[in-house]
Amino acid sequence: MSNIELGLWSFPILLGMIFLRVPIGLAMLVVGVTGSWLVTGTWNPVLAQFKNLTQSTFASYSLSVVPLFLLMGQFASISGMSQSLFRAAATWVGHRKGGVAIATVGACAGFGAICGSSLATAATMGQVALPELKRYGYSGALSTGTLAAGGTLGILIPPSVILVIYAVLTEQNIAKLFMAAFIPGFLAMLGYIVAIAIYVRISPESAGNRERAAYPERFRALLDIWPVMLLFLLVIGGIYTGVFTPTEAAAIGAVGTGLVALLSGSLNFRSFGAAMLGTASSTAMLFLIVLGAAALNTFLALSQLPQFLSAFVTEQGFNPWLILFIVLLLYLLLGCVMDSLSMILLTIPIIYPVMTTLDFGLPPEDFAIWFGILVLVVVEVGLITPPVGMNLFVINGLSRDTPLLHTYRGVLPFVASDLVRVVILAAFPAVTLYALHLFY
């Protein structure tokens, strides 16, 4: 078997293992290690590589931002900031039609600004917002749909763990990616608000009324969210302006959210331990996949499959936009069954080099950033696509009296809003790149 064939065969084997519930990072490691052995015909290169690979992956400055952001998210979850965010949003827009659901989306966006992950945002905001939505007579379908969709704002609005990983994989600037994610994240929030507004007009019985809050109460609630504002300014502002490296910003975020949690009185011995263990689980999961991707990439590079595929696509002279459409569709489908990070680590090393050979009329760096944001957005749609999107399960698990089918129905308007946004972002790269060019 030729090396290219080995490279090609590794994919069905890898996917087969993953679909037979082998942990994704483990499957990548196994295929990467055995693949390198088969291509080179000897164990020596693999054995030598793994004397340092684990250490250089785990003790890497560029990746150190990931556990720090995860720690920040853990502290943010217990800090009570989710409550104050929701209260602030609800006093301002809660009295409108569908207002409590709109407030939920706003609060999710706010929480996304201090938390880099979707499931954590969905779960944390779910605990706060679900009881309130129920109190004001919102249907289970609309409530769970809103929260599942709102949760995806956690990853779109910087900081975003997935964008960090994409930046490391494609050697792009994290600050620029975060900047580019800003407008799409904001559009996502607007799209969800529009979806809710339409939803409650078509189905008025699914939303109740909340009394209008007086202005003094509104401003008091707004004052309560100053820690969120301050942290966001420090962390994201620091990254944007280049005052801090991403790692430094994440360290400030972790210490800052930790302090807020401590001052709010919710940080005790027990919740501290839980935060540590939560950080441990998600960090280890991520780094096992990153290590697996490193092993897999070595094998793929040895097999020369990426070069072969790039050359093949160039030779055939396919329409770039058609390829982009197929790739995004693939991500959408994969996103329904696989978590977003594994998917990106699994596919970017192959797909990205191929995509860079296509001409979309953009400079290389602009293309890398635009494509990264597109992939991120599409992958996140997978998180809320019935029947398997993971956010749906997280939220449905929190809302015990809502049947899963209602959640499926409730999230559909949001999925539609997401798809519209994907089309806009894909058709008009300028939407993503505008903020970037404004500042850099």
Binding site: S64, M276, M285
Partner: protein
């Protein structure tokens, strides 16, 4: 949770080292913040911490190794169960055992190679650029986590086999939280 003596010991070890890793991660964050404050107040005679990024690398490396046992023990790794959910429990039990066996092999492989990597660094006497501490210290810091990871992988495999033999369903996945 497994209430047998080995089960309790393995759980306690994994929890302890995970929390230790988390605490070091927090210390890394605090060191970084102190360094930033020092840098901001250079005019007032303060200074940033020399080689702070070397401490970050070493500390985060230690922490990630410490996190591996807990994630595996509590089934925290990302898996795709959508296709296997349709299969009978018996088949799933066998698949889980095979996965656990693979994890044990990889855990042992990683630990073995990491240990040899440490010996190499020791032999060549490599040091970090700024702080000049021997590089093998960082490698050595990863070893406790790696060793407990192997122990946990062995325990998890035995637990899965025992549960299957007793006809119990496998421990459900926590799934990915990120």
């Amino acid at each position: 949770m497994d209430s047998s003596l080995p089960g309790r010991i393995v759980h306690a070890l994994a929890r302890l080292i995970a929390i230790a890793g988390g605490a070091v991660l927090l210390v890394v964050a605090v060191i970084t913040v102190i360094s930033i404050v020092g840098r901001a107040f250079i005019w007032a005679g303060l200074t940033s911490i020399r080689g702070d990024f070397e401490l970050v690398e070493a500390g985060v490396g230690f922490a990630v190794f410490c996190f591996l046992p807990w994630a595996h023990l509590t089934r925290g790794h990302a898996v795709v169960t959508i296709f296997t959910d349709a299969l009978p429990p018996r088949v799933n039990a066998v698949l889980v055992i095979l996965s656990d066996l693979l994890m044990l092999i990889i855990a042992a492989f990683l630990t073995w190679r990491h240990f040899l990597g440490m010996l190499d660094k020791m032999q060549y006497g490599e040091t970090t650029l700024l702080l000049r501490f021997p590089l093998w210290w960082s490698y050595a810091a990863g070893l406790p986590g790696a060793a407990i990871f192997v122990l946990v992988a062995l325990y998890v495999l035995v637990r899965s086999v025992a549960a299957t033999a007793a006809g119990q369903p496998p421990i459900p996945q926590q799934g990915a939280i990120h």
